[in-house]
Assembly symmetry: C2
Homo-oligomer: 160 residues x 2
Amino acid sequence: MTLNLEAKKLLLRKIPHGLFICGVREGDEINGFTASWVTQGSFEPPLIVMAVRSEGSSHGIIQRTKQFSLNFLRADQKDLAAVFFKPQKGLGGRFEASPYRFGELGLPLLEDCIGNVECSLIGEVVHGDHSVFVGEVKEAYLNKDDDPLVLSDTGWTYGG
Amino acid sequence: MTLNLEAKKLLLRKIPHGLFICGVREGDEINGFTASWVTQGSFEPPLIVMAVRSEGSSHGIIQRTKQFSLNFLRADQKDLAAVFFKPQKGLGGRFEASPYRFGELGLPLLEDCIGNVECSLIGEVVHGDHSVFVGEVKEAYLNKDDDPLVLSDTGWTYGG
Protein backbone atom coordinates (compact mmCIF):
# COMPACT_ATOMS: atom_id res chain seq x y z
CA MET A 1 0.00 0.00 0.00
CA THR A 2 1.23 3.47 -0.87
CA LEU A 3 0.92 6.34 1.58
CA ASN A 4 -2.28 8.29 0.94
CA LEU A 5 -0.76 11.76 0.61
CA GLU A 6 -4.06 13.63 0.74
CA ALA A 7 -5.13 11.86 3.94
CA LYS A 8 -1.66 12.41 5.42
CA LYS A 9 -1.77 16.15 4.66
CA LEU A 10 -5.28 16.66 5.98
CA LEU A 11 -4.58 14.75 9.21
CA LEU A 12 -1.22 16.35 10.02
CA ARG A 13 -2.84 19.77 9.60
CA LYS A 14 -5.22 18.86 12.43
CA ILE A 15 -2.35 18.95 14.94
CA PRO A 16 -2.69 22.24 16.86
CA HIS A 17 0.35 24.47 16.51
CA GLY A 18 1.35 27.84 17.90
CA LEU A 19 3.68 30.50 16.53
CA PHE A 20 6.83 31.43 18.42
CA ILE A 21 10.01 33.36 17.73
CA CYS A 22 13.10 31.24 18.30
CA GLY A 23 16.25 33.21 19.09
CA VAL A 24 19.84 32.02 18.70
CA ARG A 25 23.27 33.58 19.22
CA GLU A 26 26.78 32.66 18.21
CA GLY A 27 29.38 35.10 19.47
CA ASP A 28 28.22 38.58 18.44
CA GLU A 29 25.80 37.25 15.83
CA ILE A 30 22.15 36.84 16.73
CA ASN A 31 19.38 35.37 14.64
CA GLY A 32 15.73 34.56 14.97
CA PHE A 33 12.98 32.75 13.08
CA THR A 34 9.32 31.87 13.44
CA ALA A 35 8.84 28.37 14.83
CA SER A 36 5.52 26.57 14.76
CA TRP A 37 6.27 22.89 15.36
CA VAL A 38 6.74 23.11 19.12
CA THR A 39 5.50 20.83 21.91
CA GLN A 40 6.37 19.98 25.49
CA GLY A 41 8.70 16.99 25.94
CA SER A 42 8.78 16.31 29.71
CA PHE A 43 7.70 17.81 33.04
CA GLU A 44 10.89 16.99 34.96
CA PRO A 45 13.22 18.19 33.72
CA PRO A 46 11.04 20.65 31.76
CA LEU A 47 11.73 19.93 28.10
CA ILE A 48 10.60 21.71 24.95
CA VAL A 49 10.65 20.02 21.55
CA MET A 50 11.00 22.13 18.39
CA ALA A 51 11.44 21.15 14.74
CA VAL A 52 13.78 23.47 12.81
CA ARG A 53 14.29 23.68 9.05
CA SER A 54 17.60 22.02 8.20
CA GLU A 55 18.55 24.61 5.58
CA GLY A 56 18.11 27.67 7.79
CA SER A 57 21.19 29.38 9.23
CA SER A 58 19.85 29.03 12.78
CA HIS A 59 19.90 25.23 12.52
CA GLY A 60 23.69 25.04 12.62
CA ILE A 61 23.89 27.71 15.31
CA ILE A 62 21.66 25.62 17.59
CA GLN A 63 23.78 22.53 16.92
CA ARG A 64 27.06 24.36 17.60
CA THR A 65 26.00 26.50 20.59
CA LYS A 66 23.58 23.94 22.03
CA GLN A 67 21.08 26.56 23.14
CA PHE A 68 18.10 28.60 21.94
CA SER A 69 15.44 30.94 23.28
CA LEU A 70 11.73 30.71 22.59
CA ASN A 71 9.56 33.81 22.68
CA PHE A 72 5.83 33.34 23.30
CA LEU A 73 3.80 35.68 21.08
CA ARG A 74 0.42 37.19 21.95
CA ALA A 75 -2.65 36.51 19.82
CA ASP A 76 -2.32 40.03 18.31
CA GLN A 77 1.31 39.59 17.15
CA LYS A 78 0.74 37.86 13.80
CA ASP A 79 2.60 40.72 12.05
CA LEU A 80 5.73 40.04 14.09
CA ALA A 81 5.53 36.32 13.28
CA ALA A 82 5.38 37.35 9.60
CA VAL A 83 8.57 39.44 9.94
CA PHE A 84 10.46 36.43 11.31
CA PHE A 85 9.17 34.23 8.46
CA LYS A 86 10.60 36.47 5.72
CA PRO A 87 13.98 35.96 4.07
CA GLN A 88 16.59 38.35 5.46
CA LYS A 89 19.69 40.04 4.02
CA GLY A 90 22.01 39.19 6.89
CA LEU A 91 21.79 37.36 10.16
CA GLY A 92 19.91 39.15 12.91
CA GLY A 93 18.12 41.72 10.75
CA ARG A 94 14.68 40.62 11.83
CA PHE A 95 15.35 41.61 15.43
CA GLU A 96 15.31 45.26 14.32
CA ALA A 97 11.52 44.87 14.17
CA SER A 98 10.97 44.71 17.92
CA PRO A 99 12.90 45.61 21.09
CA TYR A 100 14.90 42.81 22.70
CA ARG A 101 17.42 42.19 25.45
CA PHE A 102 19.72 39.30 26.35
CA GLY A 103 18.84 36.70 28.98
CA GLU A 104 20.95 34.92 31.59
CA LEU A 105 22.21 32.48 28.93
CA GLY A 106 22.99 35.37 26.56
CA LEU A 107 20.15 34.62 24.15
CA PRO A 108 17.96 37.27 22.51
CA LEU A 109 14.58 37.76 24.25
CA LEU A 110 11.78 39.85 22.78
CA GLU A 111 10.51 42.37 25.33
CA ASP A 112 7.05 42.83 23.82
CA CYS A 113 5.45 39.37 24.12
CA ILE A 114 3.95 37.07 26.79
CA GLY A 115 7.37 35.86 27.91
CA ASN A 116 10.47 33.89 27.02
CA VAL A 117 12.42 30.79 27.91
CA GLU A 118 16.07 29.95 27.41
CA CYS A 119 16.87 26.31 26.69
CA SER A 120 19.93 24.07 26.62
CA LEU A 121 19.97 21.47 23.88
CA ILE A 122 19.93 17.97 25.39
CA GLY A 123 19.11 15.87 22.32
CA GLU A 124 18.28 15.94 18.63
CA VAL A 125 16.89 13.71 15.89
CA VAL A 126 18.31 14.71 12.49
CA HIS A 127 16.40 12.91 9.77
CA GLY A 128 14.22 15.00 7.45
CA ASP A 129 13.89 18.52 6.03
CA HIS A 130 13.49 19.69 9.63
CA SER A 131 15.50 18.46 12.63
CA VAL A 132 13.90 17.77 15.98
CA PHE A 133 15.65 19.61 18.80
CA VAL A 134 14.93 18.87 22.46
CA GLY A 135 15.85 21.62 24.90
CA GLU A 136 15.72 21.83 28.68
CA VAL A 137 14.15 25.04 30.00
CA LYS A 138 16.87 26.72 32.05
CA GLU A 139 15.37 30.20 32.47
CA ALA A 140 11.81 31.52 32.15
CA TYR A 141 10.70 35.15 32.04
CA LEU A 142 7.08 36.27 32.20
CA ASN A 143 6.33 39.69 30.77
CA LYS A 144 2.53 39.80 30.80
CA ASP A 145 0.06 36.93 30.68
CA ASP A 146 -2.19 36.97 27.62
CA ASP A 147 -3.72 34.69 25.00
CA PRO A 148 -1.09 33.06 22.75
CA LEU A 149 -0.84 33.26 18.96
CA VAL A 150 -2.24 30.06 17.46
CA LEU A 151 -1.53 29.02 13.87
CA SER A 152 -5.14 28.09 13.09
CA ASP A 153 -6.28 31.63 13.96
CA THR A 154 -3.93 33.23 11.42
CA GLY A 155 -5.33 31.70 8.24
CA TRP A 156 -1.82 30.40 7.50
CA THR A 157 -0.96 26.73 7.17
CA TYR A 158 2.37 25.14 8.04
CA GLY A 159 2.25 21.40 8.14
CA GLY A 160 0.72 18.47 6.32
CA MET B 1 19.73 32.56 38.78
CA THR B 2 17.18 29.88 39.64
CA LEU B 3 14.51 28.83 37.17
CA ASN B 4 11.29 30.77 37.81
CA LEU B 5 8.92 27.80 38.13
CA GLU B 6 5.74 29.87 38.00
CA ALA B 7 6.81 31.64 34.79
CA LYS B 8 7.92 28.30 33.32
CA LYS B 9 4.57 26.67 34.07
CA LEU B 10 2.50 29.54 32.75
CA LEU B 11 4.52 29.80 29.53
CA LEU B 12 4.65 26.08 28.72
CA ARG B 13 0.87 25.93 29.13
CA LYS B 14 0.60 28.48 26.30
CA ILE B 15 1.83 25.88 23.80
CA PRO B 16 -1.23 24.66 21.87
CA HIS B 17 -1.79 20.93 22.21
CA GLY B 18 -4.32 18.48 20.83
CA LEU B 19 -5.61 15.19 22.21
CA PHE B 20 -4.96 11.97 20.32
CA ILE B 21 -5.20 8.25 21.02
CA CYS B 22 -1.89 6.50 20.46
CA GLY B 23 -2.18 2.80 19.67
CA VAL B 24 0.54 0.17 20.08
CA ARG B 25 0.74 -3.58 19.56
CA GLU B 26 3.18 -6.29 20.58
CA GLY B 27 2.21 -9.73 19.33
CA ASP B 28 -1.40 -10.27 20.34
CA GLU B 29 -1.35 -7.51 22.94
CA ILE B 30 -2.67 -4.10 22.04
CA ASN B 31 -2.67 -0.96 24.13
CA GLY B 32 -3.61 2.66 23.79
CA PHE B 33 -3.29 5.92 25.70
CA THR B 34 -4.21 9.56 25.30
CA ALA B 35 -1.33 11.61 23.92
CA SER B 36 -1.27 15.38 23.99
CA TRP B 37 2.33 16.41 23.38
CA VAL B 38 2.37 15.91 19.63
CA THR B 39 3.82 18.05 16.84
CA GLN B 40 4.98 17.67 13.24
CA GLY B 41 8.72 16.98 12.81
CA SER B 42 9.36 17.21 9.05
CA PHE B 43 7.54 17.49 5.72
CA GLU B 44 9.76 15.03 3.79
CA PRO B 45 9.74 12.41 5.04
CA PRO B 46 6.57 13.20 6.99
CA LEU B 47 7.51 12.94 10.65
CA ILE B 48 5.41 13.13 13.80
CA VAL B 49 6.92 13.86 17.21
CA MET B 50 5.21 12.58 20.35
CA ALA B 51 6.27 12.66 24.00
CA VAL B 52 5.30 9.51 25.94
CA ARG B 53 5.35 8.96 29.71
CA SER B 54 8.35 6.79 30.56
CA GLU B 55 6.50 4.75 33.18
CA GLY B 56 3.58 3.73 30.97
CA SER B 57 3.47 0.21 29.54
CA SER B 58 3.18 1.54 25.99
CA HIS B 59 6.57 3.26 26.25
CA GLY B 60 8.48 -0.01 26.15
CA ILE B 61 6.22 -1.43 23.45
CA ILE B 62 7.04 1.53 21.17
CA GLN B 63 10.76 1.08 21.85
CA ARG B 64 10.66 -2.67 21.17
CA THR B 65 8.27 -2.75 18.18
CA LYS B 66 9.43 0.59 16.75
CA GLN B 67 5.96 1.59 15.62
CA PHE B 68 2.77 3.29 16.83
CA SER B 69 -0.54 4.56 15.49
CA LEU B 70 -2.05 7.96 16.16
CA ASN B 71 -5.82 8.44 16.06
CA PHE B 72 -7.13 11.96 15.44
CA LEU B 73 -10.14 12.69 17.66
CA ARG B 74 -13.04 14.98 16.78
CA ALA B 75 -13.86 18.02 18.92
CA ASP B 76 -16.83 16.11 20.41
CA GLN B 77 -14.75 13.10 21.57
CA LYS B 78 -13.49 14.41 24.93
CA ASP B 79 -15.16 11.45 26.68
CA LEU B 80 -13.12 8.98 24.64
CA ALA B 81 -9.92 10.87 25.46
CA ALA B 82 -10.91 10.53 29.14
CA VAL B 83 -11.27 6.74 28.80
CA PHE B 84 -7.74 6.46 27.43
CA PHE B 85 -6.36 8.63 30.27
CA LYS B 86 -7.71 6.33 33.01
CA PRO B 87 -5.70 3.55 34.70
CA GLN B 88 -6.62 0.13 33.30
CA LYS B 89 -6.70 -3.39 34.74
CA GLY B 90 -4.87 -5.07 31.86
CA LEU B 91 -3.30 -4.01 28.60
CA GLY B 92 -5.75 -3.15 25.86
CA GLY B 93 -8.87 -2.78 28.00
CA ARG B 94 -9.48 0.78 26.94
CA PHE B 95 -10.03 -0.29 23.34
CA GLU B 96 -13.29 -1.93 24.43
CA ALA B 97 -14.71 1.61 24.57
CA SER B 98 -14.80 2.17 20.82
CA PRO B 99 -14.70 0.03 17.65
CA TYR B 100 -11.30 -0.45 16.07
CA ARG B 101 -9.58 -2.40 13.31
CA PHE B 102 -5.96 -3.11 12.41
CA GLY B 103 -4.07 -1.13 9.77
CA GLU B 104 -1.49 -2.18 7.19
CA LEU B 105 1.24 -2.17 9.84
CA GLY B 106 -0.97 -4.19 12.20
CA LEU B 107 -1.62 -1.33 14.61
CA PRO B 108 -4.99 -0.59 16.25
CA LEU B 109 -6.99 2.14 14.50
CA LEU B 110 -10.14 3.68 15.95
CA GLU B 111 -12.95 3.64 13.42
CA ASP B 112 -14.97 6.50 14.90
CA CYS B 113 -12.63 9.50 14.62
CA ILE B 114 -11.29 11.89 11.95
CA GLY B 115 -8.63 9.43 10.83
CA ASN B 116 -5.45 7.57 11.72
CA VAL B 117 -1.79 7.30 10.84
CA GLU B 118 0.64 4.44 11.33
CA CYS B 119 4.24 5.42 12.07
CA SER B 120 7.64 3.74 12.13
CA LEU B 121 9.95 4.92 14.90
CA ILE B 122 13.03 6.57 13.39
CA GLY B 123 14.53 8.26 16.46
CA GLU B 124 14.07 8.99 20.13
CA VAL B 125 15.40 11.25 22.87
CA VAL B 126 15.15 9.54 26.27
CA HIS B 127 15.86 12.07 28.98
CA GLY B 128 13.00 13.02 31.33
CA ASP B 129 9.72 11.70 32.73
CA HIS B 130 8.53 11.50 29.13
CA SER B 131 10.54 10.29 26.13
CA VAL B 132 10.41 12.03 22.77
CA PHE B 133 9.60 9.62 19.96
CA VAL B 134 9.92 10.59 16.29
CA GLY B 135 7.91 8.50 13.85
CA GLU B 136 7.68 8.50 10.08
CA VAL B 137 4.12 8.42 8.75
CA LYS B 138 3.88 5.22 6.70
CA GLU B 139 0.10 4.94 6.29
CA ALA B 140 -2.72 7.50 6.59
CA TYR B 141 -6.45 6.78 6.70
CA LEU B 142 -9.11 9.49 6.53
CA ASN B 143 -12.51 8.57 7.96
CA LYS B 144 -14.35 11.88 7.93
CA ASP B 145 -12.95 15.39 8.04
CA ASP B 146 -14.04 17.37 11.09
CA ASP B 147 -12.73 19.80 13.73
CA PRO B 148 -10.07 18.22 15.99
CA LEU B 149 -10.15 17.92 19.76
CA VAL B 150 -7.96 20.64 21.26
CA LEU B 151 -6.72 20.50 24.85
CA SER B 152 -7.56 24.13 25.62
CA ASP B 153 -11.22 23.51 24.76
CA THR B 154 -11.56 20.68 27.31
CA GLY B 155 -10.83 22.64 30.49
CA TRP B 156 -8.05 20.13 31.22
CA THR B 157 -4.42 21.08 31.55
CA TYR B 158 -1.47 18.85 30.69
CA GLY B 159 1.80 20.69 30.59
CA GLY B 160 3.68 23.40 32.39
